[in-house]
Symmetry: C2
Subunit: 483 residues, 2 copies
């Protein structure tokens, strides 16, 4: 199938795709339009449809198969781990009376739903801890909505693990590429709600083996459904966005499969998706080198359940703790050096709730030293209000310095015996440069799921998540997430 | 309850609402921002929630009750009339395998669905003939998605006809007000897909008797779901948009009722709905004089199933035909005088299909003279290809004249006996100035439904549609649309 990949590479080039900003629709335009640029997106919807239908798991390079597996393992851990969250409970209570079908699994829960609402609820669950995968350039979280739509569909029709992982790669890849193409000027939109519907429709359409025309319609119907503004941050609406995006992509594919029509160019039309959703469009990012450049490789996983700007200091603190086997009562003072952003976004000195703790560099560094990790449990209300944590966080000073990049940080610990320990972190664990190891992903998975499922079940589910591509049935996998 | 209305009037004034354009988000801005203008939309979401919850059918002025009834009668006629359309058939085929519940009616059909998918399918059906109500200033079609969401909900929970008609008024009113507020610069968005989700959430939320906070969340979750670009025109995607909007509004209300949270200001936020969906916002149009200014009064109904620019000529032709009892074979020639727009948009001289006929002023005037009307049936393929129609349309000449306003037109008919008949139409029937009479709405309803339901059933359904506000059960009404 290398020839297939080449074909797409050539087609993309032949279409004259280049990294030039398209004019936005007049209403949104901030610069003069030039109609020649409009040609750059020519056939974008069709090119996306064609490549999607050509993808096969066996054609993916080993490192891409590995990254897809890592993204899936992380998804299953956070989604099962979040399955008792209030937003999930409310979704279940709200939709149970209107969902007659019990076809599909809510991950980790005994309640079963129709596939559309199951896709929604799992999408909510995947994001509600804010602990899902992150594409750092665009700050979107692609895996949750794609996997949620695919797992639901896998209980409607038989899907092998291999087909599932190919479709999962495809959906995540498209979601990131679409984001790369528009995100720099995506404005108030919440990219984790806007892009995945299209990725999910492509992924489901691949499983359905749609015709090229049907796939074009599926992409058009999916692009027609745009979800979520950044104003939703801080409410359940934030998790609603990827959840609804998952359901919308599945909905689009279901209709297109029966020949519900759309246009042939919703993505690139002058009165369509791309010009409306951003003032700039980079079609090279969207369409270039499909099948040879893999954006999923840049997906990352958060090791810590707190604001990303805290991660370098937290990484430094935990490394020092482990290296010197530190106990809190040995410590006289801690100085964190960080970019000013860290204090602006996470400078809360006396957090009162777990959620506030996630935006406190003080609590995070303290709990990291006490417990050696900073997962969901380290951000419970009890953890934030514990006298031991409070005592240690009161010993912390944060010094800001514009010379320190946002991605870096430094921790200096002075012990009661006079020793001074120091650690500078250029790239925190969980970044593209220093990705979480598979073992760290395992630990995160087990930490998240151990209160939901019996320990032995957690371990078997983790093993199955890693080897999803070898499992005979993705639908059976979904069912197996329930105790 | 006049005091309630006054309270809202005063509140709106107190909030300092004025007809000033807000700055758009920087990405979309084409002019300098001034932050003082951002205050104009203050509390918009809350004001909408408060007024929605205060509405009562008995407080509506008689002419507004009458207009709501007219909009509802028109909705039932077109939706039942379209229920065998291919887009409806495909929707049913696509969604049947995923919709386990059979709670709600697809109007005119025996198949039953869960409420969310029934809302979608009826919304598609309401628009697919392009014969639904039209708010001419913004060119949106508000009644379909609102009534579709409400009827579906009425089969989930008991709703009286009176409550239904109040909620229907509210949903249509909000949909038009939101459109008035943004539509002049709504760009590539399809307003019949973007605005109704919020109107539907308000309407359903009113039936649910949500708390003010829940209603705010419902509006926020609904506003977070934006559907449809103008690129969809010409495909089923166009009808998808109001259909999905109906389902989205219902979905939002179902979640908010169980306290799924959103922010308190999705509508007016600087990173929310209004600034993203248009480069200008007129909050006076959106919020001013709620309960004393009624935008639903400006809803109109199409008497003819063709492009709106043909309507003045068609109206003139049919009036001459009726006045002189004309037969096609008496006619030597016909001259239509029209604004140039008429030929640009509907200048198709030899249409080959019914759909092409809708964009042919020639076919439309010919068939209008032959049959005295121009409903769906006059735009069948057979009607367009009939030798008698073709013979008459070949006698038609169109002369364009910039001096004739778009809303006007003139027809001059020369008979074989030498007589010359002339009619100038300033405002065509179906305009705000010359609304369709109730009798014309009756005829349209019966014409649309007579192939779907037995004649006696059509008449009883028409009578019930007019007296919906007096019926004990809106859910029972929905069921009664099926033969």
């Amino acid at each position: 199938m290398r020839s297939n990949q080449r074909r797409f590479f050539l087609k993309s080039s032949a279409a004259g795709i280049a990294s030039v900003a398209l004019p936005s629709y007049p209403m949104f335009a901030s610069a003069a339009e030039t109609s020649t640029n409009a040609e750059k997106g020519k056939d974008a919807t069709r090119i996306l449809a064609q490549y999607a239908l050509s993808t096969r798991y066996e054609d993916l390079p080993p490192n891409i198969k590995r990254e897809a597996a890592r993204a899936f393992v992380n998804f299953v851990g956070v989604t099962v781990g979040s399955c008792q969250h209030e937003a999930v409970n409310i979704s279940i209570d709200s939709l149970r009376p209107v969902s007659g079908s019990t076809m599909a699994t809510v991950l980790g829960r005994k309640e079963r739903f129709d596939v559309l609402n199951a896709a929604f609820i799992n999408g909510v669950s995947s994001h509600v801890f804010d602990f899902d995968d992150t594409h750092l350039v665009t700050n979107i979280h692609p895996a949750g909505p794609i996997a949620s739509a695919l797992l639901a569909y896998s209980e409607l029709k038989p899907v092998s693990g291999r087909e599932f992982m190919n479709a999962f790669y495809l959906g995540v890849e498209y979601t990131i590429r679409l984001a790369n193409s528009l995100a720099p000027n995506h404005g108030p939109w919440h990219g984790s709600g806007t892009f995945p519907s299209i990725g999910a429709a492509a992924a489901i359409g691949r499983l359905m083996k749609l015709s090229e025309q049907q796939m074009i319609w599926a992409l058009g119907l999916a692009a027609s459904q745009q979800v979520g503004f950044r104003d939703s941050f801080g409410s359940m609406n934030k998790s609603f966005n990827p959840g609804r995006s998952a359901a919308n992509g599945l909905f689009a594919a279901l209709l297109a499969q029966k020949n519900f029509t759309s246009s042939n160019q919703v993505i690139e039309s002058r009165v369509g998706w791309a010009v409306t959703m951003s003032s700039t469009q980079d079609y090279q990012e969207m369409l270039g080198d499909l099948g040879s450049r893999y954006e999923i490789a840049k997906d990352t996983y958060k090791p810590f359940a707190c604001g990303i700007v805290i991660h370098p200091a937290l990484d430094a603190a935990i490394q020092l703790r482990n290296q010197y086997n530190l106990q809190a009562d040995q410590i006289q003072s801690i100085v964190v050096k960080a970019n000013p952003n860290t204090l602006i976004l996470t400078g809360k000195k006396t957090p009162q709730t777990g959620l506030e703790g996630k935006f406190s560099v003080y609590h995070s560094v303290a709990i990291g030293i006490i417990e050696g990790r900073a997962g969901e449990k380290q951000y419970s209300d009890a953890a934030v209000l514990s006298p031991k944590t409070i005592a240690l966080r009161n010993k912390i000073t944060v010094e800001v310095d514009n010379a320190i990049p946002k991605k870096s940080g430094e921790v200096t610990i002075t012990l009661n015996d006079g020793r001074v320990l120091n650690k500078f972190i250029e790239n925190a664990v969980g970044s593209v440069e220093v990705p979480m190891t598979n073992e760290q992903l395992d630990a995160k998975f087990l930490d998240l799921t151990e209160d939901i499922l019996p320990r032995a079940k957690c371990k078997s589910l983790l093993a199955d998540s890693w080897r999803m591509a070898e499992l005979p049935s993705a639908g059976q996998f979904a069912k197996s997430t329930v105790a």
